[in-house]
């Protein structure tokens, strides 16, 4: 397989921050606009896939270790469940931050308005933790599938015509 040209690599490096920022935007605005943790995480992970395609899996695997991604994924999932467990003063998943004037604690104004970031209670926090999990999970998935191709074939791994 040919190495991708310099143009591809340069453009990928330029575009990558924009994709990341857009993905993060989708994640943190999940409680106001269409989007959320999974969608934003998928966009951000697609940036990593772009790098993977442009630079090749071996190059990326040096920078991003699968074990680190796994830890990141666990942290995302753990913070999500912790947020749900923190609501146990009332019920599991109870939105204890809504209307508390703490972070994200404002009551959204009634009627048509441009949207206030500082609302939603635990929802934005959960979006962020899901986003973290999806970024790590999808990147690890694509990275693993890309690295699979480089593995040595098994005993009977003879290609048939």
């Amino acid at each position: 397989m040919n190495e991708p040209s310099k143009i591809v690599k340069t453009i990928a490096s330029i575009i990558f921050p924009f994709i990341t920022v857009y993905g993060l935007y989708i994640i943190v605005h999940g409680h106001l606009t269409p989007g959320g943790g999974f969608q934003g995480g998928a966009i951000t992970a697609s940036g990593i896939v772009l790098l993977l395609v442009a630079f090749g899996s071996a190059e990326i695997a040096k920078k991003i270790k699968e074990s680190h991604l796994s830890i990141l994924e666990s942290i995302g999932a753990l913070s999500f469940i912790s947020l749900a467990l923190l609501g146990l003063s009332a019920t599991f998943f109870y939105n204890f931050l809504a209307g508390s004037n703490f972070i994200f604690g404002r009551i959204p104004p009634f009627g048509s308005n441009p949207g206030d970031m500082n609302t939603g209670g635990v929802l934005p926090l959960m979006n962020i933790s899901v986003g973290l999990k999806v970024i790590a999970g999808l990147s690890a998935m694509v990275l693993a599938l890309a690295l699979f191709a480089r593995l040595k074939r098994g005993r009977k791994g003879v290609r048939k015509k």
Binding site: S74, G87, A90, T91
Partner: protein
Amino acid sequence: MNMSYVLLHAPALLIAIPLFAAFLTPIIDRFSKRVRNIFVLAVLIIEEILMIIFAWDVFTNGIHVYTMGAPNPTSTVPLQSAVPVRIVLEVDGMSAFMGLISTTVSLAAGFYSIAFVRKETGQGKFYTLLLLMLVGMLGMEFTGDMFNLFVFFEILSIASAALVAYRSYYGDAVEGAFKYLIISSIAGSIVLFAIAILYGQYGVLNIAALAKAMKSTTLDMIALVLLISAFAMKCGSVPMHFWIPDSYTVAPASITAMLVVASQASLYALFRICFSLYGNTSYVATSGAILILFGLLSMFIGVTMAIPQKDIKRLMSYHAISQTGYMLLGVGAGLYLLGNPDFSTHGMAAMEGGIFHIFNHALYKGLLFLTAGAIFYKTKTRNLNEIRGLAHSMKFTTIFFLIGAFSIAGLPPFNGFASKLLIYESVYHVNPILSIIAMLVSILTLASFMKVFHSAFMGPPMKDVERGDVPKSMLFGMMVLTAGIILFSIIPGWVVGHIVHPAAQSLANQSAYIRAVMGD
């Protein structure tokens, strides 16, 4: 901590604790393998204890409902709305019964795995997925919501498929996992399609609300057919059983024991749909007859296919199909008679037999799969032609195997006999042929297990096998299940009266299930 507080939140806690622990495991795994093992076992023990306390409360005090995200767990229907809009967990006797099975077998499988997978790589992921399987099972059993049934079903399928392929250096392990996953995802899509049909008509997803609104339209019937066939496939009923031997055979032994319970979670979903969702429609007798038919086919074809097998786990997988047939037969006969005047005399006993058999099956089939794993651990083969004389060195395993084999064959005084007796005597009133086939299958079961016992444990000892039994943690895992079998064998009357009867009662009593969520 206050006990009533724990009991109030128990449905959510039982699902949340293993979920939390599942994602904590890979982090602990980076620091110490030993601490990780202790942590996983501690979580499984806590689950078991919490489940026993909670199940006892459900059996004595009736249905628990839990509304996620509501200011109060019991406020299922919000003030402004006429239907439940939040995620509702609804734990009645049957759910608690299934939860007990899941936690018990998970505990045994957890102990067993410690030694069984010691030499493998990626153990952190193994325990994560094991705990996720427990989450999936408990979620399927506790949910009061069709959509969450689907979500937990898929969590269970993905975690199990990944675990079936755990020893991916064997080609057939990946093949079995692939088949399992294809079957599961097709079943999942079909279930979602059926749920969409129901949602399109009634605009709710809660099982109780759906059951209340059910109008027996043609679309309801199509949804019922799709749900029955999808869940019947996932619980391994003939003629959709082909994936069961393929995937059970290649999974690690402790996971096979878990897969048995995972299939029973699908069986639970099948019963829940037939009884609680469609219990008030005109399809009850037809679906009961279909369950009986599935049961008969599974019993007979499962056991006859088991006899010629040479692979020990494959033989046992066919028995798993055959024993699932007993449950389908017993509960199907109950469903067939539901609403008849006969129900209180024979139908209830048939359901008790079928439901009691679920627990017995989880115990003895789990135990048998674990002994098969112990044989594989010692001899590195599953082929019955190549092993013999293991009783010389593996004394405890032999005893455990015999107890499991006698129990599955329904020999008195073991628990398998008690549940089969209830089934024989009650389905006789539906049709005598059903009882006759059930007894014949029981005899053939004994025959095929004597084949295993003779070829694996009897005869002169094998030469190239080191002496001594398997490691202690594996023996302990098997002992947990054996203790369960012996306990259930000694006090079948108490178990049926205090555990099985509430489960059967709650399954048959649809109006109580609806009332718990919808109010009066």
